[in-house]
């Protein structure tokens, strides 16, 4: 055969493939094509009688020759003539090399083969598939009978050990994250190699060739065999396509190949899923079928050979766990299959596995697979079953093992049918390395790990089961179009109600699923220094337990997503957010331990600065005041006290670069803050934040952050004039109203985007803080607004202790921590309504 002819025939084969030739036929035809070539080349060689045979081994031996796979050929000989051998070898191998095919070639005698096979397991199994292409049939049959005698007869257990050992090694190597996202069609768990391992094992241990023979011998059920055939066909087809797309031997379905393959297999993007996601779902589905079948089969063989099961952690003595369910050789066995009639039996088998940490025996697993029809509506609605299920996912000793078995037997999908939509579902990005179903299992496993790592947080939770269920369900809305958290929450509600969870628990579950991305989004995209934001988060989440659950769920979710989704960087941001919200929810007035230390340190330092005498008579200063200033500043403030007359107002402005700080020391009186705000407005100064500290002796220290509404610099500001006016205003010697009203018109900023404005709003919150009512005011910004708001509050006899003003696109959000002078918190709803109306009135004015 000419070089050109071989190329042409290979090209013709590719055309046939494009026209829809099925995968296995392609392998067959390709193999026959190479056979032809070999036969021709061999015929052209000098005749050597019975001394030579051309033998196909490995995949080529099985007539499964992929487009760019190695062509493994053994030149088997019984000759001494090296020159003749060399001549034959070149005649046979060169044509293959010439067209650039990869050839795995060897020249061996039968004796060589046996010696090499002893050393090299892969060569040994490749001999199992040996096939005579041309040449001496006698020589070939000598080889096969020697292989039979030396490697099969009497050595079955050793062969099986090798199969298991190599499979374990392979799964470790190809079980890495990168192979999840980009499965290796040949070597990954559930790849073609797993099918091969089953077939070799069947051949060597039971003398059975092929899946049908295995089914007839009862090693496979009809369903399993059909599933395997389908998976096999599909994996072959995919591997052929990968070869053709790459134009070389590559068996890994790389990310960048996936989309093109989806296109060429006719998967379009019409549905809720991308075409490539539907393709990958099929790929993962088939590999899962193969993996499960291989696990079950190999375990069965291990039993037949009396091989001890792989240790699963705790070695425990055989015992009866409950009637009909036993622990045998470290595995859970349903000893009385008649018990399956009782609907809860399957659930109890899993419970036994969860409690003992043992795996479930493969025969029992098969029984579960074939009895899934028993999982009916009654079981789905049984509260008792639900409690068992929750115990399984929350308390399993070996969570991954139990959860995988729940899934692989199909029980999980039968018990929570809503999960079928995410079975084998993949997401086309480099971020999510697991399919959604596995991701959900791993999230639960990560929650188990977090319970070890962060026991303090778990201790704050009254009930962990809802958290673990949320871990299992949080992405259940995937594959249903946009907004998976929202649709997931709706499904979670249905599931929670069906399981008979308490109303409160279902509400919590729904909340967790709906908002499982809330914390990560805020942590990475919003300003965590923004107190208003933190405050909103706290209100949104509501209580500390939910916050803890949301935080843990976010960590577990990210860690179960893939190596890129979680790192120290994200962890630090998320932790910061968690702690900030936790402090708001917990109780802002109780000092954290480090703050308590801070207060003591401050008092000590102040005492030192003042000297032994004065230090003893320190006035009792409020904690929040002490934590807001340096010891030197406090001493500085105190130095003014002796001379501070009732009328005096001391101001200390300071340039801070992008803003100015303004410290005001005076004696407390009603409406003080509003007069300060009014005077600031009069001098075209706007306020960002204000903290008001009142000492027990009636001294007030106000710390403000301000800026000019003009571009004017700090030096240009008339601080003296401001100080004068402030004293007059505080002592009620000037009318702020009429002065501001004269000043306002030219200062009012025209709003640029009236369409995006949100109507003014006033929100009362008595939950967030223990001692204070929090009032939030949303309004369009204008000079003097803060004066009017604070004056209104003062008119109601309301004392403001902190204010924070943030401006965003012409809207301000003011947060006031206030107390009613008579009653503390403002709890009276009528009064709240009255204040709200009054505030809205002055805002609109």
């Amino acid at each position: 055969m000419e070089k050109g002819e071989l190329r042409a025939r290979r090209a013709a084969l590719k055309d046939l493939w494009r026209q829809g030739l099925n995968g296995r036929s392609l392998l067959h035809k390709h193999s026959a094509l190479i056979d032809d070539l070999m036969a021709q080349s061999f015929a052209a060689c000098p005749q050597t009688g019975n001394g030579l045979a051309l033998v196909a081994v490995g995949g080529y031996g099985r007539q499964e020759l992929f487009p760019f796979s190695d062509i493994d050929i053994l030149l088997l000989h019984a000759l001494d003539d090296d020159k003749l051998l060399a001549e034959v070898a070149s005649a046979v191998f060169y044509p293959l090399w010439d067209v650039g095919l990869e050839v795995g070639h060897s020249v061996r005698t039968v004796k060589d083969c046996l010696a090499d096979a002893r050393r090299d397991f892969f060569f040994e199994v490749s001999l199992l598939d040996a096939r005579l292409i041309t040449g001496s049939a006698d020589l070939f049959s000598e080889l096969t009978s020697m292989v039979q005698a030396n490697f099969v007869s009497g050595l079955r257990p050793r062969f099986f050990e090798d199969i298991l050992l190599h499979r374990t090694e392979r799964l470790q190597r190809f079980g890495l994250h990168s192979y999840m996202l980009e499965p290796h069609i040949k070597e990954s768990r559930g790849g073609l190699r797993d099918i091969q391992a089953m077939l070799w094992t069947a051949q060597v241990i039971f003398g059975l060739r092929g899946l049908i023979a295995m089914e007839e011998a009862g090693l496979l059920s009809a369903v399993e065999r059909l599933g395997l055939e389908t998976a096999w066909d599909n994996l072959v087809r995919i591997r052929c396509q990968v070869h053709y797309m790459c134009g070389r031997k590559n068996d890994q379905l790389f990310f960048e190949l996936q989309e093109e393959m989806a296109g060429s297999f006719g998967y379009d993007d019409s549905g809720a899923l991308l075409g490539v996601e539907r393709l990958m779902r099929r790929v993962y589905g088939h590999m899962q079928t193969v993996a499960v079948a291989a696990d079950l089969f190999l375990e069965h063989v291990a039993d037949v050979l009396g091989r001890a099961p792989a240790p699963t952690g705790a070695v425990v003595a055989d015992r009866i766990l409950e009637p009909g369910i036993e622990l045998l050789n470290g595995r859970i066995v349903l000893s009385d299959p008649r018990l399956l009639i009782k609907k809860s039996t399957i659930m109890r088998i899993f419970l036994s596995a969860a409690r003992t940490g043992a795996t479930i025996h493969h025969r029992t697993r098969k029984l579960i697979c074939t009895h899934l029809h028993l999982v009916d509506d009654n079981l789905l609605r049984s509260q008792r079953a639900a409690r068992i299920f929750l115990e399984i996912i929350t308390s399993a000793k070996q969570p991954l093992s139990v959860l995988e078995t729940l899934m692989e037997t199909g029980f999980l999908f039968a018990y929570i049918p809503e999960m079928k939509k995410v079975e084998s579902l993949s997401q086309y990005d480099v971020y999510h390395v697991y399919t959604v179903d596995f991701h959900l299992l791993h999230t639960v496993v990560e929650l188990h790990a977090l319970r070890q790592e962060m026991p303090e947080i778990f201790r704050t939770m009254a009930c962990q089961q809802v958290l673990f269920l949320a871990g299992l369900l949080h992405d259940i809305g995937k594959g249903r179009g946009k907004g998976h958290a929202e649709s997931g929450a709706r499904l979670a509600k249905v599931i929670g109600e069906r399981m008979g969870l308490a109303k409160r628990e279902t509400a919590c579950l729904t909340f967790l699923v709906r908002h499982h991305l809330y914390l990560p989004h805020i942590a990475t995209r919003r300003d965590l220094e923004d107190e208003v934001l933190i405050h909103h988060c706290a209100r949104h989440i509501g209580d500390i337990q939910r916050l803890a659950m949301l935080y843990l769920l976010a960590i577990a979710d990210a860690r179960a997503t893939g190596p890129n989704a979680w790192n120290h960087w994200k962890a630090a941001l998320l932790q910061e957010l968690y702690l900030k919200i936790a402090h708001v929810l917990d109780n802002r007035l109780i000092l954290r331990p480090d703050q308590r230390q801070g207060v003591e340190w401050m008092l000590q330092r102040i005492g030192e600065l003042l000297g032994p005498e004065a230090g003893k008579n320190l006035p009792s200063l409020p904690d929040d005041y002490l934590l807001s200033f340096s010891p030197e500043e406090v001493v500085h403030h105190m130095s003014f006290l002796p001379d501070l007359t009732d009328q005096e107002v001391l101001i200390f402005p300071e340039d801070q670069g992008d803003h100015w700080s303004l410290l005001i020391i005076t004696h407390d009186r009603p409406g003080l803050l509003s007069r300060i705000c009014g005077t600031l407005a009069l001098h075209s100064l706007q306020v960002f934040s204000a903290r008001i500290f009142t000492w027990p002796d009636g001294t007030v220290v106000d710390a403000l952050e301000i800026n000019s509404v003009f571009e004017g610099g700090y030096e240009e500001q008339d601080w003296q004039g401001f100080g004068r006016d402030l004293i007059l205003a505080v002592n009620q010697r000037i009318g702020l109203d009429h002065r501001l009203s004269r000043k306002l018109p030219p200062q009012r900023r025209a709003s640029t985007m009236p369409a995006t404005r949100r109507p003014p709003e006033v929100v009362f919150d008595n939950e967030t803080s223990d001692g204070y009512t929090v009032i939030e005011v949303f309004a369009d910004d204008r000079i003097g607004l803060l004066y009017e708001i604070t004056r209104t509050l003062a008119d109601f006899g309301i004392d403001i202790s902190r204010a924070k003003i943030s401006t965003k696109a012409d809207q301000i959000v003011d947060v006031f921590y206030v107390q009613d002078l008579q009653t503390g918190k403002i709890r009276d709803l009528d009064l709240q309504e009255e204040i709200r109306r009054e505030l809205l009135h002055v805002i609109k004015f």
């Binding site: 790192n567 960087w569 630090a572 932790q575 702690l579 480090d594």
Partner: protein
């Protein structure tokens, strides 16, 4: 040609990206980084658990521009990344000797 490296607060990334888009900056490299400057890490004990933050998460941007663009780019980053609070970050401008586009081998401004 200059390389502009900016350390900014993570949540400011989108704003900065948008602002740079406005003046035609189409490419940048971003990295999640941690570090400290004036804004230090801290330790906190909450409910019996100790939480330490040694380094504070920031975002690092790297942009290569023609020298004439430096001022505009720096100006945009300054305006977009500023919150006025501690820890707003820093901008570094470094000289760049050569830029080569791998695909075509183009060099200099062509390759930016």
């Amino acid at each position: 040609m200059k390389k502009i490296e900016a350390i900014i607060k993570p949540f400011k990334l989108e704003d900065v990206k948008e602002a740079l888009n406005e003046i035609g900056i189409k490419g940048m490299t971003i990295t999640e980084v941690k570090g400290y400057g004036r804004q230090k890490g801290h330790k906190e004990i909450y409910r019996g658990a100790e939480y330490t933050v040694d380094f504070i998460p920031k975002m690092k941007l790297e942009i290569i521009v023609e020298s004439s663009m430096v001022e505009a780019v720096v100006g945009k980053i300054l305006a977009a990344a500023k919150t006025g609070m501690i820890g707003d970050g820093k901008i570094f401008v470094l000289p760049v000797e050569q830029v080569i586009r791998v695909r075509t081998g183009e060099k200099g401004n062509e390759a930016i």
